[in-house]
Symmetry: none
Subunit: 415 residues, 2 copies
Amino acid sequence: MEVELVSIGDELLLGYTIDTNAAFFAREAAALGIRVVRRATVGDGADEIASAVKEALVRTGAVITSGGLGPTADDLTKPSIAALFNRGMRLDESIVESLRARWKARGWPGELPEANKMQAMIPEDATILVNRHGSAPGIWLEDDAGRWVAMLPGVPREFRGMTKDELLPRLVAMGAGGTVVRSRTLRTTGIAESALADKLGELAKDPAGVSLAYLPGWEGVDLRLTVRDVPSVEADARLTRAADALRGKVGKHVYGEDEADMAVLVLHALRAHRMRIAVAESCTGGMLGMRLTAIAGSSEVVHGGVIAYDNEVKVAQLGVRQETLVAHGAVSEETAREMATGVRERLGVDVGVSITGVAGPGGGTPEKPVGTYCVAVDVRGVTRSFRTSSVGDRHEVRQRATQAALSLVRVALEG
Amino acid sequence: MEVELVSIGDELLLGYTIDTNAAFFAREAAALGIRVVRRATVGDGADEIASAVKEALVRTGAVITSGGLGPTADDLTKPSIAALFNRGMRLDESIVESLRARWKARGWPGELPEANKMQAMIPEDATILVNRHGSAPGIWLEDDAGRWVAMLPGVPREFRGMTKDELLPRLVAMGAGGTVVRSRTLRTTGIAESALADKLGELAKDPAGVSLAYLPGWEGVDLRLTVRDVPSVEADARLTRAADALRGKVGKHVYGEDEADMAVLVLHALRAHRMRIAVAESCTGGMLGMRLTAIAGSSEVVHGGVIAYDNEVKVAQLGVRQETLVAHGAVSEETAREMATGVRERLGVDVGVSITGVAGPGGGTPEKPVGTYCVAVDVRGVTRSFRTSSVGDRHEVRQRATQAALSLVRVALEG
């Protein structure tokens, strides 16, 4: 199945917003054998929308739009596409009701504003695509020749949710599938891209009939294996052979596959050991705590922590010794260890983990340049730590430090 | 001047790469009065490239492509567009020479590979756009009717560099830049899009000759005012009139313009008052601390904080009273106030700010549904708090809660 995407919004054309919906859709669709053959981006004008959608309908007859479904006067997706299909617009009372219910449930003051009722205007003979992620419903319009347009909201959370809930199941039911593009990703951390390539050697060139891509990021380097245009059984067999071969070469750096998240792995390990954790953060200022608590259900094992941004807080709230700070500096394995032990003891948990570093742009020295950080873990009195240094801006250095700290916890719990 | 962009590459269509070139070009071009009216993304196939470029030539006659200029067999941009202009291809010896020189200067082994000479094949009667940022030169093709295509490499560093060095000066020389597109954004928080529209009333329809877009996000709703196709003095005058009119209607919700960041504003206010701040976070788990410390130089006023994810931590580390938790619950303005005061006193700072809420997906009750959160601030013993509720998933609820907390601090420091 071939489809086209039309992204709608002045903010996209003007470059104020980067379109991530299209890439999301393409990846999800590829796994089902649905291929995006063209994308267009147009502004909010009714004529622009209509002409882009019309051209796509002529070419492929299968069009997904994102954006322009909001409650304000510049949201013209529905009427301009309805006109292409020679359909009028009607007010859908069931949508008005659900908007009203939503307004009340949120405890917002007064009645549903008139402006919001715009969202309940839909083309005649249209199918409503339910939006469980926001207020604007999606629309499915189809003509007698089977050409269709699916209109989804542009807000990424809503677009993504509705793609999974409503759109992809509908396309699969229409017969998408067949030969596939299938991929599998091995996630590594604590090793550079070039070092990985060296370890892989010949295998890097042709890993058992699949293509290999290196995707470096702050979590580490992902190795993506892709197989195209073969039956799914053969694709899976090839991916398994290639993944096994890669693991043989770089095994200990692989922490998971596909969407694996180091924070989730650490929470699992803590649960398995019936242990609770607390964090002590200097340069990351709360980012490590944020990552752990980003996961629903983390409250079972995450107790809390101390953000010890200023050295006074390290001393007063974590019991770091003044002598340690003077002798080794705030950015040192010694300080990191005392922070980890301090937060473990003061919060009364099993595991303390800490980060202290120079995130930049200022604060670097020849011995401790910007990007240097130390992480430590204390598991019931046994501590480990290491110091490393990474590239990137302030944000990326902080992200990399949280990944290093979590990786250290994971190793400590496994070892 | 109106132009269209065509982005070329299978990796863009497959969603493995996000197209940032188009947004970069649009922003740079807008400042010169050049307007991007349509964008298309196509794969690497010669037919796909030709058809997208041909359509754009018919519509606007001014097309910029990115991608498909590399040395490999799947780089078909030049020959497919040359064919549209009825031009043959020729080997350009000056490009071969510069590729050879580059190869030597890099210290790479052996002679320039044959494959790389592909990059020296250019359409007949084409103008070479010099690439100082990589090896593939750009190409400018123009017909007798003045329709043109500028072909740039897809690598973002090269695309950006060549846009600035070669393309924009050329467009300005062709007469772009008489009239401009200029915009100004008012950032609001604490008010919904529809409520804003209601407050603006008639003004929302035609705010003094500028176009108005609502851009909702977790920080609040941005109101973007845009003026097109008038001289720059007139554009500025219209934007000032419109911004003043909007501020008159929604003034207290406007916290800044354009790139304003609430965390930066709070740090400024703290510096102006010579005050230091500490955070106490429950459901956000460190996100508020992370936001404040994301800004370089924040250590001057940010002392640290306590992540009180578990109620035990709220009691032991922040001095929240057990009775308060029992009587009002952890998610209550009462608990939030005690958290703010607790962190202020225990860390010995001037300002304590706190967040406690139900980020979801579980944990909601009829009285406190998912998305409910309470924020409080204590400025030298004077506390304020409020409770509200927001849409979104766990991540977005947490983001919105940090914005609400920072907004409360800002109001408290101003008031």
